[in-house]
Symmetry: C2
Subunit: 123 residues, 2 copies
Amino acid sequence: MLGDELYVIISRDVNVNHKPTPIIPENQRRMMVAALKPVDFALLGSLTDYFEPISEINPDIVVLGFDQKFQEKELEDALNERGFFPKVIRLSKADSNGEGEFYSSRRIAAEIIERKNKNQEID
Amino acid sequence: MLGDELYVIISRDVNVNHKPTPIIPENQRRMMVAALKPVDFALLGSLTDYFEPISEINPDIVVLGFDQKFQEKELEDALNERGFFPKVIRLSKADSNGEGEFYSSRRIAAEIIERKNKNQEID
């Protein structure tokens, strides 16, 4: 347990440039995350300024996913410059992923395409 | 609000015969549903007897999804025979589905295949 309240910032569709555009649109992704028991607040990121939601939340801890592109140190420095001094932590891959075969949307998509190639029905 | 506690019975993989086998295995589906705020308990259905979890829970209300294959009246009669007298309700399609384009796994799968056909990357 890293803190008392969990805020999740949801990537905006237009800001996903390092990988393919998500299939599930940003607001649906936000609602899905907001519906999860451990999550107190789920908010869409800013379209223009990564730091905007962090300024609003003023968190004690910022947690990065294992594959997020930011570097902890750079992010910490940039936050410090803006007058914020949260602890920046990166989750390990083991912390981020479930244990099953289908915890990755890439893996689910691969299975759908495999079933399609075998002419299996998909639902 | 139909009741105070929400139990969700998750279909067993081997019992899904009326449509293609789910991609997400039963235990992962159970954990996903259990993680949702409105859900108090998510349990796997019985492999052999549909009525087993209902006997254990002894619910006041049984809610069917809009596309579940049971008929309300038949289910009610079968439950009455076994000494259970819950109200049986069927959700409307509007109650069951979200409003967006991608609230259906069939629709998500179709989009994945469409992207594949266009040689787009999928993640």
